[in-house]
């Protein structure tokens, strides 16, 4: 026990004296989380909070124009601005980026829609051999209404498709309601049913929770970046840990330690515990940054939920995985340059795959598959299930076990490499 405590104390003293190492381990993740949270705040809000500015020119004085406007407003997707200028001016405003989308409702939209509906109702009643109301006008020529929709030049195709889909939804709802109204009107011999205005959707979609987990908070820039960069910082100890091991080997300390009584594993355990404490300190510091510092910069406050022991467990598993990886890198390479280069590049790759920069769900499918092999992804999954939802035992147990397995595997490989090198 004395050897273990002595090694932990020695490692902590060495870390305390290494100012550049401390900056890499503590300051760098803090700066990264602050910058990345600020940078990604707008895109996250775009996805979840911001409404799309839409310019509407309504030339139609009938129901269609009103209902399209009403539908766009009630969709809660668009921030609708009515425009009384010309179509050319509207197009220029959208082209300049003042608005993301422009919609022009033609003056005859209601007239054409009503004519089209009348025709549809007549054809339907005729096919059902029901009496046709004489008041229904016969439609001659094309009755389709074209509503021009135009986009700002920097809008991506996928975004256009989703917007068009939302507009189509508004439009089809309007059509359905009008058709039903017309049917009721015809079948009730001309009396329009006022309740038809209140026709509700037969099928409704309601967002519900997956599994037994209850989602408590939406993913925002802070909720994503704090756990993400905490993990990145934890894994970046690889450089310091591997460097310390290589230095001990090159300056002869390793030889001296091996001639001392007791197992070398005790010395390695002391080193691991010291770096695990660093990882846990990083985690606490980053969480405090998310709770107290980031809101001062206008960002949302980090919410970590109530399960503090579970957060501690996940952080410990992540810290062990990071130290295990550091020991493997330190064992594998013979020079500090080699280990620093490989360590930093490999952590950056694992971080990119693991969804540290951008959430995994926006990545291509092949990367999403590769992501599941990154220990940073496992850690991020576990943290986010605790921070964003009620995160039950299964949610954190599986990623935590994977992190522990990663730790044991890296440590075992390091042990065999070390044994091979010593003989």
């Amino acid at each position: 026990m004395l050897r273990l405590i002595a090694t932990i104390r020695k490692e902590i003293l060495l870390l305390k004296r290494d100012r550049s190492g401390l900056a890499i381990m503590f300051l760098m993740p803090m700066i990264l989380v602050t910058i990345m949270a600020l940078i990604q705040d707008a895109p996250f809000r775009d996805y979840q909070e911001l409404k799309i500015p839409l310019l509407l020119i309504n030339h139609d004085e009938g129901d269609v124009g009103k209902k399209i406007e009403q539908g766009l407003i009630t969709s809660k997707i668009f921030e609708v601005t009515n425009f009384n200028g010309t179509e050319k001016e509207a197009r220029r405003k959208v082209a300049n980026g003042d608005f993301e989308i422009g919609i022009i409702v033609p003056g005859d939209a209601s007239e054409k829609l009503n004519a089209r509906i009348d025709q549809f109702v007549e054809e339907t009643l005729h096919s059902l051999e029901l009496p046709v109301n004489d008041s229904i006008e016969k439609v001659h020529g094309p009755s389709e209404t074209t509503i021009p929709v135009f986009f700002a030049p920097d809008i991506k195709k996928s975004f256009k498709n989703s917007v068009l889909s939302s507009i189509m939804h508004v439009s089809s709802r309007l059509e359905t309601q009008s058709i039903l109204n017309e049917f009721k009107s015809v079948l009730n011999e001309g009396e329009k049913d006022t309740t038809s205005e209140e026709i509700k959707d037969f099928i409704r979609f309601k967002e519900s929770e997956s599994g037994n987990t209850v989602v408590l908070h939406e993913l925002n820039s802070v909720q994503h970046n704090v756990p993400a960069w905490t993990l990145f910082g934890m894994f970046f100890i690889v450089i310091s840990l591997a460097g310390s091991m290589i230095k001990e080997r090159t300056d002869g300390s390793y030889l001296r330690i091996r001639t001392m009584p007791g197992s070398y594993l005790t010395v390695m355990a002391g080193k691991m515990i010291a770096y695990l404490l660093v990882c846990l300190s990083q985690c606490v510091l980053m969480i405090l940054t998310g709770i107290y510092l980031l809101p001062l910069l206008g960002l949302p406050q980090l919410v970590i939920g109530n399960n503090i022991p579970a957060i501690g467990l996940v952080a410990t598993c992540c810290g062990l995985a990071a130290t295990g990886y550091g020991i493997l890198v330190g064992t594998l390479f013979n020079t500090h340059q080699q280990s620093a280069t490989f360590g930093s590049v490999s952590v950056v790759i694992l971080a990119a795959l693991g969804g540290i920069w951008v959430p995994v769900y926006v990545m291509p499918e092949i990367i999403r598959i590769l992501a599941t092999y990154s220990p940073l992804y496992w850690g991020l999954q576990a943290f986010q299930s605790l921070f964003l939802s009620t995160g039950n035992a299964t949610d954190i147990l599986f990623p935590s076990l994977k992190l522990l397995l990663f730790f044991l595997i890296t440590l075992s490989i390091a042990y065999f490499i070390n044994k091979y090198k010593n003989n």
Binding site: R3, L13, T259
Partner: protein, 249 residues
Amino acid sequence: MTKDAAIEVRHLIKNYKGVIQPAVNNISFTIEKGEIWGLLGPNGAGKTTTISILCGLLKSDGGEVIIHGYRHDSNSHAIKQIISMVPQDIALYPSLTAFENLHYIGNMYGMQGKILKDRIHECLNAFGLENFANKPVENFSGGMKRRINLIAGILHKPQIVFMDEPTVGVDVQSRNMITGFLKELNGQGITIVYTSHLLEEAQNLCSHIAIIDYGTMIASGTPAELIHQHACANLEEVFLKLTGRKLRD
């Protein structure tokens, strides 16, 4: 094993993978307790491999090593308590102070509390470093680093000390202090196994010299015996006569 033998080595063999010539080729020797035993040889002769096997850093491929009556392969913990190695490099943590370095090493040998602190101050005092106890080792001169390195090796009062070129790269004063201390240490009954390329120093310091080349022991005896036996003026001449003047890698 003889009663007064500190180390007994029989038919020691060590091969490295991919190298045809054995690094240590069936060597046998006995080091008596209280000797300063010098192991000399050109670069690549097998000195470091031999010392590494004796210290438990490497496993041999054959032969037997007995240290203070303990068989090497089955009593490594007991052997590690009574031996110490002073590496050629300054095997200390530069950012830690002299006291912190020695405190850590003392703890690793199971020493703690007042006994350890007193011992650290005693050793620092003996080597003229008392006033530098709380200074980081990285600020020390080369000679001071060597002295601290040496203290780290004798802090736990070992019975056998392995020293790999303990005076390399130090000034005359530090060398004089170190060799004086080694003699004093030896006077207390501690066995010293010593390697060096400084043959004059070895001649003056060692009670017994062994010369090894290509993994084989080619000469063994007191310095005087070797000089007389090979009809040379000093140990350096003996060394060159036995190992040749060809440069080694």
